[in-house]
Symmetry: C2
Subunit: 150 residues, 2 copies
């Protein structure tokens, strides 16, 4: 399994509640390259409910958000011919996030698949499909902006 | 202080991780009418970080989401001449959510102010400004759809 981009973030970027490996209370999501897409798997907790049998929309937005920042770093590195885990990873933050909730998302493990819709030097746009049991229940689009790191 | 709309939701709608009064692990946000706008106050936890001194964007999206569903119910009731807390509250779910992150949001108490951008029988559009210490750091827009309740 390829290394997760979040495991390569420098320490100041590793405290995010959604994806920071150093945030012990957070979701600690992991996003990996899979050929020309990116993949994040996440298992919601029993209390991450909207209605009692569906997943909270804010959690869906949260996971899409961090999946998108990680995906942007992966896509930018691939575009520059860099190798995840060997070269320093750039860090992107979210400027704009959109989520379409297409159907109730069952409270089950989710799989997010990210595609690069645009890759520029300082801006990447990531499209995401969120699937549960193979069905797309939500779609995301995020504009990520590259930030300088110390 | 006027009653929070979430305290009037029927039981099946009161388990939401963001705004359900019966979800003991959730955020339990409270949204109240304030003349022609709606207001939600929320205090992030110390671990709701993006970078170490800023608030996680997924949390911001989450709070905007639930603030918007609650606001939609308030705006729909006001449009029908109904009184919050006396008449049964309708329930809205999110079809589309957008967030613009304008600046890093300090990890401090946040205030969300919602406005009705459109009110139709089964669809309400809510615009939200998120302020910390009086400064708008994020803006939201959500399309909410009314659902039938048992």
């Amino acid at each position: 399994m390829p290394i997760a981009i979040q495991d390569t973030y420098p320490e100041p970027a590793a405290h995010c509640y959604g994806c920071g490996r150093l945030n012990e209370f957070g979701y600690q999501i992991k996003t990996r390259a899979d050929r020309d897409v990116t993949v994040t798997e996440f298992v919601p907790a029993s209390y991450h409910t909207a209605f009692i049998d569906s997943t909270y929309g804010g959690l869906i937005a949260s996971i899409i958000d961090c999946h998108s920042t990680g995906s942007a770093a992966i896509f930018a590195m691939h575009a520059d011919g860099e190798e995840i885990g060997s070269d320093p990873s750039p860090r992107f933050v979210t400027a704009h996030l959109e989520v379409d909730y297409l159907a109730p998302t069952p409270l089950l493990p989710m799989r997010l698949v990210g595609s690069a819709l645009e890759i520029k030097e300082r801006k990447v746009i990531v499209g995401t499909e969120l699937l549960v049991e193979g069905e797309v229940t939500a779609k995301g689009s995020a504009v990520l902006v590259r930030i300088d790191q110390d």
